[in-house]
Structures are given as C-alpha cells and as structure tokens.
Subunit: 284 residues, 2 copies
C-alpha cells in the first residue's frame, strides 16, 4: 500500500509527493526537521518535538507555519490515514521555493512535508537485546548542531564509515572528546554514574536525552553532564545512546573494545524500560 | 516566459519541475552542484566545472550519471531551449530517492536537475565598477569545503549577517585567517603581490580561481598561496573575490576599513579584463 504523504496542506499518495526543484530545502539545505515516534498509534514526546521545531525555526529566522495544535492535528491525521501503529513520523519545514540566491528570499512560503515510516515492534528492537557496536570518526560537522537542520550528509558518511569498520554506528569525536552519535546522544556509565556531553552548540539537544536524564535523576541515579573521551568510554562499565527512534539503545563495544561482558548493561536496560513505560503513559 | 528545467532526462516547464520528497538531496543535503556561466550563448570554463563535478561525486562515492560529452550536450540544450544569452546554468546531482535512512541506499538512481538563470549583461555588472564591501563572520561550516555540496545554509546565513552589518558579502574567518567568501574565493594585493588562501579541505577549489591565478602568473604577477588575516586584508592595497558567476569582483572595504582610495584596484580590474577576454575566447 502506498503511504499518504502530507505536502503543504494536501494528503497525497507518496508517488505524487513532490517539491519544486527551486525549494531551498533542496538547493541550500535551508530546512529543519523532527522525527516523532509512534507506539500503539500514539505520539511519543510530541510536545518536546514541537518545542524544538519552534526553536530551530527561530534560530534560522523562519516563521513557524503551524501552531502546536495544528501540528498535533496533522500528526494525528497522518497516523490515522496511514494506519500507523508503531513507527515514525518525519516532518520537515523549509524556507520555501524561490529563484536561487544565497540571500534569504523576501517573501517565500515555507514548505511543509510529513511522511510516516511503519516499524512494527519498534519498541522491541532485537538490537536493544544484543546492543550495538560503535566506531569513532572525526566530527567535522558545522558549528550549530543544536539546530536540527537537514545538513545530514556528514552523519550519513560517518555511519557508512562506521559500517566499513565493522561497527553499527559512529561516535563523533572533536578536540579529543565524543560529541554525540551520528543521529543520537552518547552516554557512558562508570561506577554507577551516567556521563553524557553537556548541552551547547556542539550537540543536538535530544528530546529523548532530556527525558532519560530526568528519569535517571528521579530514580536517584547520578548524572554528570560533561565531555568524555573514547578512552574513557572504552574503560566504562557500559554505554548507550538515545534518540527518538531508538529510545535507549545499549552500546557494547567502542572502537573494538568490549564493555563489561559484552552484553547490554543494567543501567541502559533499566532506563530503556523506564523511558518506554513513562513515554507510553504520556503519549498523545 | 516560463523557464525550461531539466529533471532526469525530461525538459519541463519550471512549474512542473519537481523532485520526490524522499530525494536525499532534500532530506540529507546528499547532493553536489555546479554553476556555469554563459556569455553570448556559450559556456565559460565548462571543462573545469565538469571535472570538479566528477571529483565531488567521487568523494561522496556517487556514480557520475552522465559522461562529460552528455553533460555538455544537456548544457547546450538548456541554453538553446531557454534562449539564454548571458546568465547561469545550475546543475545538481543527488544520490536519488529512497526511504529515509542515514545509511546510503544500496540501489538508488541519481537525480539530475539543471535550470538556467538569465542575467543580461552579466559581464558588465555595475558592482564591478564600484566594488563591493565585505564583513568578516566566523567560518563554522563543515570540514570538507572542497566538496561542492548543497550544504549551503551557513553561507546563506553568513551573507545575511554581512548585509545586516552594512556589507555586500561575507568573508569567512577560521582560526584567525580568512578562508574564503560566502560563495567565492578571496584575495588581497599588497606591493603588487596577490595573496590567496592555499588549497585544502578548508576552501572550495574555485574553477575561476585556477584560471585567474594562471592568467596572473602568465602576466608576470607575483602570487602567494597562503592564509591571510582580516587585519592584513585591511592593510592591503586592494582586494577582490572570484567565482563562476561574478568572475573577478573588486572588494573596496573589509569590516569598514576602506582599501586604497575606495575604488576598484588596478590588479583586480586587469585580471577581470584578462579573465573575461580569455574565457570568452575559450567558451564552448
């Protein structure tokens, strides 16, 4: 069955879901996005994604084309029209189409696109039971990673580089410290303390990160928000990554160094359990 | 009159020139481009652009979808169908459309788009007679600026920042040194010596840059390829930028400091003259 894709107010079969070649999302990567998970037909952490979208648009001096209530309505309509049970809703807003010029167009209507990806059993990912291996690669992305733009070529290249190294995903390293994963935030656990990079322009301010750290603190776990090195990660008891689509995903090896006994650690598994339970309760 | 746009082998009215929302050029900025100038209906420096396109694609592990002869034929067809006398031909190649995933798709057909921009009197730009003012802004782009990708959001933001500072364009500064302009290579002239940033991953390897430096050396001008600071630029006799669309464009002020008497310098004007003369002769 063909998916139904939202393009600028219209619900279209995916084959007909197109944008102008003059769209600045296509020509300049002048666009931001969000990915929201759906479990049991309900949206996970929707308010967080809506708030971050608004912030990303503001940083780029773009108007938010919809209100939060309208965004919610469109997301729900996409769930309904696609019969989505478990999966993802991707949304992208671009500055719109205009004749090509580096300067922002004076008047352009933002382009809004949403599509779904069905992922049956998303919360029961086999990878969460075995854990994933990561390989470190240099972080050469631009300096404003806190804005969730579609400038994703390097994260894609990093993921491919990690696969060539026999790993499942990449951890990006800048000035000797891990910034984050290719599309997720990175954590290590040592002596019961969870360590993850502090917020700044160097990393994405993960919606799942914020929720997981809140749950960790509520569960009396110790959290340190600071940079860590690959060497420190290799000496950790366990590690994990978080993202909207992978939730909490255990990491069992870093650059070939096996962590603990090479199976998912108890902190990662416990946080995954809490996150999924609490998020399902709060899903809308 | 509506332009004729090339999309994957078809020549379409611009209103119908669209790409899938699943195109990786739209979702991941997973695409490269070139801009070739047209003067008197003929292509300027075409071979240089074709060679750089091929290199950019190779760096991203993408196949070149057309041979150089085919690219030339499509460019000429675009000139003919659009009755283009003076202007630009923009071309973009993306990795193609595939369901969204950071990993490169195993099988995707590259998307090829070309469009024209008519610029009557392109070689007689009034700005070339008065010169432009530049303002320096931090260079926070990714680390592989030698690959001509569509990750152009920051150059756009830099141009807007420069305009807010009362300048016409931005010069990007990293670790204390000028890398290049927002969409052009940067030069200063002091005591008859032309200074411009040496090639590397920090800057685009300008096709116009290569030609202009060759012409300068042939004219017995002294050329130094090395980094320079904003302060050195402010103390220079003159400055200029080069690009495929602006050719050689004099710069008359850097961060408010007026160079010389505030009018285009003799080296910039002479190089512009030589470049236009030689390029027209070699146009195809």
């Amino acid at each position: 069955m063909s998916r139904i894709v939202y393009v600028n107010g219209e619900y279209l079969p995916e084959e007909a879901a197109k944008v102008s070649v003059f769209d600045r999302g296509f020509l300049f990567a002048d666009a931001v996005y969000e990915v929201t998970s759906v479990l049991g037909g309900k949206l996970i952490d929707f308010a967080g994604h809506a708030a971050r979208l608004s912030r990303s648009l503001g940083e780029l001096e773009m108007e938010n084309p919809l209100t939060e209530a309208e965004w919610l309505a469109v997301h729900r309509e996409m769930v309904a029209r696609n019969g989505l049970e478990d999966g993802l809703i991707y949304l992208q807003v671009t500055r719109g189409a205009a004749d090509r010029d580096f300067a922002f167009p004076e008047a352009a209507t933002p382009t809004v696109v949403l599509f779904t990806q069905s992922k049956p059993g998303l919360a029961e990912s086999p990878a969460a039971k075995t854990g994933i291996k990561v390989a470190s690669v240099p972080d050469i992305r631009w300096g404003r990673r806190d804005i969730k733009t579609v400038q994703l070529l390097y994260p894609s290249m990093a993921k491919m580089a990690a696969k060539k190294l026999g790993a499942d995903d990449a951890w990006l390293v800048e000035d000797g410290f891990v910034t984050e994963g290719s599309s997720n935030n990175a954590y290590i656990v040592k002596g019961g303390t969870i360590v993850t990079r502090n917020l700044g322009t160097e990393i994405l301010h993960g919606i799942t990160r914020a929720a997981v750290l809140r749950f960790a603190r509520e569960a009396q776990m110790k959290v340190e928000e600071r940079p860590f090195t690959v060497e420190e990660a290799q000496g950790a008891d366990e590690a994990f990554v978080t993202s909207a689509s992978a939730f909490v995903m255990p990491v069992v090896a870093v650059d070939g160094a096996v962590l603990g006994d090479g199976t998912p650690g108890p902190v990662a598994l416990r946080l995954r359990e809490i996150y999924l339970e609490e998020s399902r309760k709060a899903a809308v």
